[in-house]
Symmetry: C2
Subunit: 406 residues, 2 copies
Amino acid sequence: MQAEIITIGDELLIGQVIDTNSADIAKQLNKIGVSIYQVTSVQDDKNHILKALKDAEKYSDIIILTGGLGPTKDDITKKTIAEYFNDTLVKNQAVLQNIEELWATNVSDKILQVNKDQALVPSKSKVLMNKLGTAPGMWFDKGNKTFISLPGVPYEMDALMEIEVVPKLKEKYNFPYILHKTLLVYGIGESALAARIEDWEDALPPNIKLAYLPNLGKVRLRLSAKGANKEDIEVKVDAEVKKLLPLIKDKFFGFEDEEGSVEIIIAKQLTKTGKTLAIAESCTGGTLAGQFTKHSGASAYFNGGVVTYSTESKVNVLGVSSEVIREHSVVSGQVAESMASNALKLFNSDFAVATTGNAGPTKGESDADVGTVYIAIASKDGVFSEKFSLGNHRIKVINKAVNKAL
Amino acid sequence: MQAEIITIGDELLIGQVIDTNSADIAKQLNKIGVSIYQVTSVQDDKNHILKALKDAEKYSDIIILTGGLGPTKDDITKKTIAEYFNDTLVKNQAVLQNIEELWATNVSDKILQVNKDQALVPSKSKVLMNKLGTAPGMWFDKGNKTFISLPGVPYEMDALMEIEVVPKLKEKYNFPYILHKTLLVYGIGESALAARIEDWEDALPPNIKLAYLPNLGKVRLRLSAKGANKEDIEVKVDAEVKKLLPLIKDKFFGFEDEEGSVEIIIAKQLTKTGKTLAIAESCTGGTLAGQFTKHSGASAYFNGGVVTYSTESKVNVLGVSSEVIREHSVVSGQVAESMASNALKLFNSDFAVATTGNAGPTKGESDADVGTVYIAIASKDGVFSEKFSLGNHRIKVINKAVNKAL
């Protein structure tokens, strides 16, 4: 079972927008056992889209298009697909109603005919209702092949994949059972980890595949198994995990659950135990707090944070002593610890995390090398800090520091 | 003059790695007047790579491949290109020397034969020396067409594009001039904007193309023009911009410059005028501060911020009056204004921005509807706030609020 992803939009071909949609779609399809044969990005050009559709149909069973469904003149995907299927556009009443509801709740401008026209869909398509935007997804059956057109806006595409496309594909096709189990490993590099678990990896049964997914100081270890019998697969994967865990117990953080990342595991733990968190950031500049607050339910445990970016604000807002800063430099374990301890009190919380460092590209108010970051953790029982050297690429330093703090 | 980019690697097709290379290459080629016809991502599979090369040769003058040049067994790009050109691999002494030098300086393990074999290149290729890694770039002339193979590691690829590929392409071809001008428009939807500027758009000369790039409350309007004469193109685009500006003057924020986004324009303005900024966030939870601090140079104008997520912290940390909160609710213009005014003082800054709202999915400590966000701006001259309804998708509400605040 193979799929092709066709992403449509001039903005992709001039490098103005990085195509994240195809990776997202590939991930979701891989989970249900569909391999991606090819990703093709083309301009908003009718003949080129038609050619891409024809080529894709030759090699793939499932063809997913994203983009080009907006209300403006440069969006031509819908018309082009209709032409590909010798179809015409007809008004879909449910889509129109959805558009009008979205408009009434979210938009103050008057609704225009071009917006209402987004309710026109090819008569042969089934509508995939887009609750987050005005462009509906569309599903076309052509024998055993499936064509799916999705909006290019990433979160609209993503929601439609999850709510509509994946369940409907599972209904139409008989996929093998695939089990993925992902272990979150922090604080060890990919190759050091590989060396450590080499013997275990070499002895894996052939139907269990292992993938290393390294990303800025964390490695996700993914075990994947495929087969007809669900229980059999689960037993075999669990047995391997049981052998693996003792080898990585000092670096293992948890299993990646449905929603994903490590901050969710922390959030659940804090919420369950009724504990609260505060964050004091310098070099990570709000990004660490943002990792928690982007998920719903944060108010249950997150009291708040400060971004004390200037040295003055570390003293005035967070009460770090000027003397400590003078003596140890603003990028130091002492300052990190003081930031964490004071944030703990300021926000009256059970735990506090603090970051101070130099993300670069130039040296700041301290003499610390670019990439030097101190992270401190405080609780009512005390405070400790650790020093990290995180390279010389600003965005990477910030994100690595966030991962180290987590 | 058209190019195709072929990115090679299993990791791209399972969604493990987002392909940023093709956007980078597209940007560099667009600057010198080369349009990208198509981006194609394929697995590390010989027959598929051969097919992609053949297809690309049909439509494009310049074909750039990235990836698959590593030393391990799954990297087959080099052998496959050699086969495509009926060529054999020969040892290149200069590349071998480069590999040995890189090894001596950076790697402690002993060099292996597979590493030395990276000095084998197709005899018909010109080597593009990769000073940052062991995989050389390769250049093939086939009549007026050009094939270029680059390593997949983004910074190695990027350096080779800049130092080797772009200068050599300029030598070989006589490119037309391309001009892109992008206007940042905030606070009006894509379709309302399109309706407002329809007459102007319809009257655009045929060699000037217009694209709408909408993203959560902002729209980037991109004008593109191509031609033989640089001055002529510039005059024509400027004339169109001059006609456009009066139509959108209440929503126009600035021109997108080389680096991009609106926070950079704000940062430059603040730095130039020696003014400082503070941020007080509730619903945006650190994300607004993170938008500024991810760019270098933030310490020149960003004094700091607070993330007063809990109501208690709004009172204790930021000094918002409990009475105001009781009377007006924690999601209110009054609270937003108080947050901004108090942050201004706390961080001793010239400007302060504050957000308070309910990002959902459930109603929080206030009675405000999900999606309701108040944003306040304070300076020494006073404070004002505005109410927004930003939908019911949490991440979208947060990012729209960030864009509204900007």
